[in-house]
Amino acid sequence: MEYILQPWPWYVSGPIIAIIMYLLLYFGRTFGMSSNLRTLCAIGGAGKHSDFFKFDWKSQRWNLVVVLGAILGGFIAHYYLSEPAAIDLSDATIIDLKTLGFTDIGNSLLPPELFSWEAVFSIKGILILIVGGFLVGFGTRYAGGCTSGHAITGLSSLQLPSLIAVIGFFLGGLIMIHLIFPILF
């Protein structure tokens, strides 16, 4: 139990994620989290505005069930399988975040500077969440997948398009953190 309550090391977590991918393939499906966003748009009636959302979304219900399970899994892991402890970030990261003006670094999963009610009710705070979310939704559909679909499933099956997409993920991430963050914070 002690090992479960501690944060799990990368060499345990990575292989479990691969097993999840494999299980979904074994069940005749495929691992991809961002396609749920398209399914939810279709359920909401987006098919009236674009053929992109005219598909048999009922065939994707299984994936929404994965999402429901993931929410419950997050709840179980956070409230029953974790001891309150700061995230063991590298010293360099903590120094960099302090320089950007962050405090309480790593004491929760998400920084209060972005996700607390105080942040949400500031213009800058809400814009960060909205712009960030929008880019994720737009970019994943444009690229045809996210971390699960391209980085895990696509790279595991040695597909070139997924490698190009993952290079794009890093290009975007590096631009944001190294060029835009110093202006933003």
Partner: protein, 138 residues
Amino acid sequence: MGKYIKFFIVGILFGIVLVKSEAVSWYRIFEMFKFQSFHMYGIIGTAVITGITLLLIAKLLKVKNIEGSFLQVPLKESGFKRYIIGGTIFGLGWALCGACPGPMYILIGTGVPSILIVIAAALLGTFVYGIVKDKLPH
């Protein structure tokens, strides 16, 4: 209902491992893009290596899925622009709000209501892509 239970259980496992590995943490994503820790690279790297191995074994042993056909990964369409441009756009958002689509849902369970704003914006982003997609280079 019964056929959905296995997907629910897989989802629970997914949620647990992403929280316990701290991959759902904004801080870990920042650290990854700063190249200041091996942690996230270790997770993605071992996931891919294990994934390659499992798929190779499945191919060699001619494993069939529960529907009776050979276990295989759907092939992505070939292309370049959509993957590099779309991927970059996603990367910008991933680094900014620290959550890709999987963790977005999982974070609801960890009790962070403001993540719902990110999800709503991601739905809007997906919707706008659907509207303008024919005008974009793919």
